[in-house]
């Protein structure tokens, strides 16, 4: 990447539509892979954080160590995380990409799940017990719906930031749209890079809106309150 060559290549147009048309299969594949990595990471993250949140809510003293650990993970540089796992699971393994991505979701998801259940007023719990709801029924039909707005907010934030982080997974040969970005950068051919970057931003915004909408569907009483306010 010497200076003179770069200057020449800098005159590449930002986007060349013929390429988009010709390489449509590659773009679609990258987009699907991006979505797949995001969903795998979110699914794994949700399972783990539900367990962690349940532990933290059940045994209050575990709250501090769980928060401290997930916070620490959250501050680990993503490049370092991928680098850490690459020698273990192999450079090109999907596990190497999904594990760190899932790990990054933990702080946001655990915090929100715990906050959601803690937001259930003690009086509501007390009333539920007093009316003879079994503990399982109380959690499922009273506490969970009430915690849902918090949980959905957590899922939304975690999903959107995962979409952004997936691009970085391209440094280990994964990363869906991130691979397009890398290819473009490496060859100073801007079209794939622009396509990859724009699509990842659009994907993030669309998932954000989608999850927001699902969250509102799941908590109609909140929607009414907002409309009244």
């Amino acid at each position: 990447m010497s200076g003179a060559a770069l200057l020449g290549e800098a005159r590449n147009p930002i986007i060349r539509w013929e390429w988009v048309y010709e390489e449509w299969d590659q773009i679609r594949e990258a987009l699907l892979e991006h979505l797949e990595l995001t969903m795998l990471a979110m699914a794994l993250g949700l399972v783990v954080s539900t367990i962690l949140a349940a532990i933290a809510l059940r045994f209050r003293w575990t709250m501090t160590p769980i928060t401290a650990t997930t916070s620490l993970i959250y501050t680990l540089p993503s490049v370092a995380m991928f680098a850490l796992l690459a020698p273990v699971f192999g450079n090109l393994s999907r596990v190497t990409a999904v594990l760190p991505l899932a790990a990054y979701t933990l702080l946001i998801l655990v915090t929100n799940i715990v906050a959601g259940f803690q937001s259930v007023p003690q009086s509501v719990r007390d009333a539920a017990d007093g009316m003879g709801l079994s503990p399982a029924r109380r959690v499922w039909s009273v506490e969970l719906p009430l915690a849902m707005p918090f949980i959905m907010t957590g899922i939304r934030i975690a999903t959107v930031s995962t979409v952004g982080l997936v691009t970085v997974a391209a440094i280990i040969g994964q990363g869906g749209l991130g691979r397009l970005i890398f290819n473009g950068l490496r060859r100073a051919f801007w079209t794939p890079m622009t396509v990859g970057a724009l699509l990842s931003i659009i994907l993030a915004l669309m998932l954000d809106a989608l999850i927001l909408w699902i969250g509102l569907l799941l908590s109609p009483w909140q929607r009414r309150k907002k409309a009244a306010a």
């Binding site: 009333a127 009316m131 709801l133 009273v142 009414r224």
Partner: protein
């Protein structure tokens, strides 16, 4: 109304229930003193009993032991002779209405769905639940338009009414209320208290009500159990008896130095010994009039005709009218400024007497003359002095 308890064998499967606490003690772990110590209490069916006392007296703990939200360390609690410990906790609770200060409505469910919570758990069909919800809404005086709303859209007073309706949904024989009106403002609280009494006259539940508010206890309870710190029962008595004959210094201090004044709220005009006062029918003679005036030691006289009160006359005017050859009917009459009903409290009678600047209020008993109330009569009435 046999649906309160799913178990038909259960002895508390009835529309009425008496509660008996025998030697109930609760010690919390890590606390040196018992929260409730050896408490025995009989609660009559169909009555409202207030558990009254300062914070730390174990009144809420006692209440929560009745529906087993807290298990006693020792002692037994029976409802209609059945030990509550023998009934599965959740089944027991579905048969006991429970109302708390913060109401605890489910924010994600509509008002109708909140009220129908227990019937739904008991497996009632939709139609029956809907009918019951409608019925309860009227009973507690809620607007039917509110049924489709969410709890956050209601005022505090409305929410509390929904809480009561929800507790009554499966028509349980027992209602437990923990500071039910503590979170609403005084005006709404007074209205809700009145409504509770109105409701109780219809449903006749056995109600145990926890409060730290002496006035609330005096106002709504049939019996007051006054508890001291550590769950010691200091006195169990009807409100007026608690005021009139406090068992000890604690009771005296707790109900306050103004307990005589409080009794004015509690006792009704009808509770006073019947006293007609210086009253004469319009056909009476001047001689009879002078006799009555002397006997009562007053300077005025009431005149009635066919048991209807006509007004007051001044004693000083008697001589002149008699000299002119008139009768009692010719005396200038003042209309009564102070009129009370037999159902008025002594306090309002006293207030009327003060405001109207007279010495007595006339009791209006369905349009007829029912006697007079004087300050002296009130004093004697409260002192139990019937002479």
């Amino acid at each position: 109304m046999q649906h309160s308890f799913p178990d038909p064998e259960s002895q508390i499967n009835a529309s009425r229930a008496a509660i008996r606490l025998s030697g109930v003690t609760k010690e919390f772990r890590g606390s040196a003193e018992a929260a409730v110590a050896d408490l025995s209490l009989d609660i009559e069916e169909g009555s409202i009993v207030a558990l009254l006392g300062p914070s730390g007296c174990g009144k809420t703990t006692t209440l929560r032991m009745i529906n087993r939200l807290i298990e006693p360390t020792s002692g037994t609690i029976e409802i209609n002779g059945t030990n509550v410990a023998d009934i599965p906790a959740q089944e027991l609770r579905r048969g006991i209405g429970y109302v708390i200060q913060q109401v605890g409505l489910f924010p994600h469910r509509s008002i109708a769905s909140n009220i129908g919570t227990v019937p739904k758990m008991l497996g009632w069909n939709k139609k029956r639940i809907a009918e019951r919800v409608e019925e309860l809404t009227s009973l507690v005086g809620l607007d039917h338009d509110l049924l489709s709303r969410y709890p956050d859209e209601l005022s505090g007073g409305q929410q509390q009414r929904v809480g009561v309706a929800r507790a009554l949904a499966a028509d349980p024989p027992v209602l437990l209320m923990d500071e039910p009106f503590g979170a609403v403002d005084p005006i709404v609280r007074a209205r809700l208290q009145d409504q509770l009494l109105e409701l109780q006259s219809e449903v006749r539940k056995t109600i145990v009500l926890v409060t730290h508010d002496v006035d609330e206890a005096l106002r709504v309870a049939d019996q007051i159990a006054l508890l001291n710190v550590g769950g010691v029962l200091e006195q169990l008595a009807a409100p007026d008896d608690l005021m009139r004959t406090p068992a000890n210094d604690f009771v005296r201090t707790f109900v306050g130095e103004d307990r005589w004044l409080r009794r004015l709220h509690l006792n009704l005009v009808s509770s006073l010994p019947h006293h007609t006062g210086p009253i004469l029918p319009i056909a009476a003679t001047f001689g009879e009039a002078r006799e009555v005036l002397a006997a009562e030691g007053v300077s005025w006289l009431g005149i009635t005709e066919d048991d209807v009160f006509l007004g007051w006359v001044q004693a000083s005017a008697l001589d002149a009218v008699e000299a002119a050859g008139g009768s009692l009917a010719d005396l200038e009459r003042q209309l009564p400024a102070a009129q009370v009903e037999p159902t008025s409290t002594l306090r309002s009678a006293m207030e009327l007497i003060m405001v109207s600047n007279t010495s007595a209020a006339v009791i209006n008993e369905g349009g007829k003359f029912g006697g007079v109330v004087t300050l002296e009569g009130i004093r004697r009435g409260l002192a139990g002095d019937t002479s």
